[in-house]
Symmetry: C2
Subunit: 310 residues, 2 copies
């Protein structure tokens, strides 16, 4: 377990809480602005898109974009665009993952999932249109802010590669194929690096790419940090799925174990899973070691991700 | 009915057939190159993506990109990239539209539709990953060819706007909401302008944007042409759905009428529907009137779209 002075830690986390609330507020406001209004046709689709995106979630990916952006001294208004795009991709993936032909989950963020609140066809189109809107947001970002075309292209290609068949969507396919199978820790890691890790890394990188100047040492650190923290996030998720109840999670607890999906807890046991999470946390912090206060948001965010569970 | 000298027409169409076969071959080859190989994980997803995209279809959108590109003297290798991106978006929309929660169609291009050949979850991910790959292709196009970043962004934003909730996905939502309803011709037109028209127009525009220099008069003509031909395409589709059999169509005939969907034939009757298709054809040709031989591919393509049915 990492040794962190508890008083320093408390002060840091109070400051982090205020910061994260502010980022969540900004992200919500930007998304509200970018999503089509419900008085424009097709009204029901737009209503469902807003239902799926707004008013919930910890916005971990938006926090990551902003924290990585802070390390690179990027403009906060630009970071809002990057953060909104990754949150749209995340929201689309949740809507499709919850559908009956995938994980068949009725609950999301404490509310009926999109296909339960609307219908399957609408949920399918909501996911499709949210993915498109994420790319549209980045492709038209210069109309709002002073991005260079090269910056936009870098964000677009990074987000696309992270979301596609060699990233998030591919990870979901591997996840589906693994139901009922015995996986090794390596195979499980491979699945998660794609299913959740790729988008988490892209979130941090998009934040870095919002900066005026590219600092290769910082980008390398963000790579290492976000790979470690992306995997830690998933290990913590598996621990939460075992230990927390449905009310706390806002989604159906024990779902993965019930559906016979391999998790870090089923493969390693709870004690070794927690030790792995701590080890990944240390790796993430090690990547930030060369940097001072400018990396403090990333350090706090790592701690926040760890403290979700224990 | 348009008066076209039948001998001239035959020569033109023989030339067009050779050209379109060549574009289809190039498009197939480019798509084959851009799609992930089946020996890379996740293998089954990549296999299904290739199944959904390769080896079929008239590639009308690729032909449009190349024909509009010919008007603007764009490089054919660049046009292959634009054509492949729009064909990927089209293929993703077919995979999702065929799913049980949407149109529930078992047959596509004379083969089992993607969810019948694989399964619903795979088909969902295939559509998702194909959409992503379309944007990835445009965002990374400069790695293959000498695109400017501004050209790429223009193609990306045009394709995204045409595909999203105010374009293709929105049109599909309006279509679903219209089942069992009596629509006016105006309401039906509104639906089709979004559902199929937006992507058809984007296909032609992406072709134009591949050119070194933007010619505003030509782009305005391509706008007018592609709006007319996009709608004509749909009217012809409705006529085909009534008159052709399943073997000819490669998809289930009479499906729209059976599922109580409004079509141009149910609203106007077959005679007036054919007259409307001819009128739209004339509008498309009128847009090309200021241009000479450089517009001949677009003229031939308009005729080809009309001749699909009668």
């Amino acid at each position: 377990m990492l040794k962190i002075d508890s008083k320093d830690c408390m002060i840091a986390m109070t400051d982090f809480t205020a910061w994260s609330l502010e980022i969540q507020r900004r992200t919500e406001q930007t998304l509200d602005h970018l999503l089509p209004p419900t008085n424009i046709a097709p009204e029901r689709l737009h209503d469902a898109m807003r239902y799926a995106v707004l008013g919930g979630g910890k916005r971990v990916r938006a926090l990551l974009a902003h924290a990585a952006g802070a390390l690179c001294a990027a403009d906060a208004n630009k970071l809002d665009i990057a953060a909104s795009a990754v949150e749209m991709i995340h929201a689309y993936s949740l809507v499709h993952d919850d559908m009956p032909c995938m994980d068949d989950d009725d609950l999301r963020r404490g509310k009926p999932s999109c296909h339960k609140q609307y219908d399957d066809a609408t949920a399918l189109l909501v996911g499709d249109a949210l993915q498109t809107l994420a790319f549209q947001t980045l492709a038209t970002a210069e109309q709002r802010l002073d991005f260079t075309a090269e910056q936009q292209l870098k964000m677009l290609s990074t987000l696309a590669i992270a979301s596609g068949s060699r990233g998030m969507a591919g990870g979901q396919a591997i996840d589906l194929a693994s139901v009922g199978k015995e996986l090794t820790q390596l195979e499980l890691e491979y699945m998660h690096i794609h299913k959740t890790g790729a988008l988490i890394r892209a979130s941090a990188l998009l934040g870095a790419y919002c900066a005026e100047q590219e600092d290769l040492a910082k980008i390398a650190a963000i790579h290492q940090y976000s790979e470690a923290i992306g995997l830690a996030f998933q290990v913590v998720d598996d621990i939460l799925d075992t230990e927390a109840d449905t009310a706390t999670l806002g989604k159906t607890a024990g779902k993965d174990a019930d559906s016979n999906k391999p998790t870090y807890v089923t493969i390693l046991g709870i004690t070794r899973a927690k030790a792995l999470a701590n080890e990944l946390h240390e790796n993430a912090l090690a990547a930030l070691q060369p940097f001072g206060d400018e990396a403090s948001r990333l350090r706090q965010l790592a701690l926040f991700i760890m403290q979700r569970s224990f």
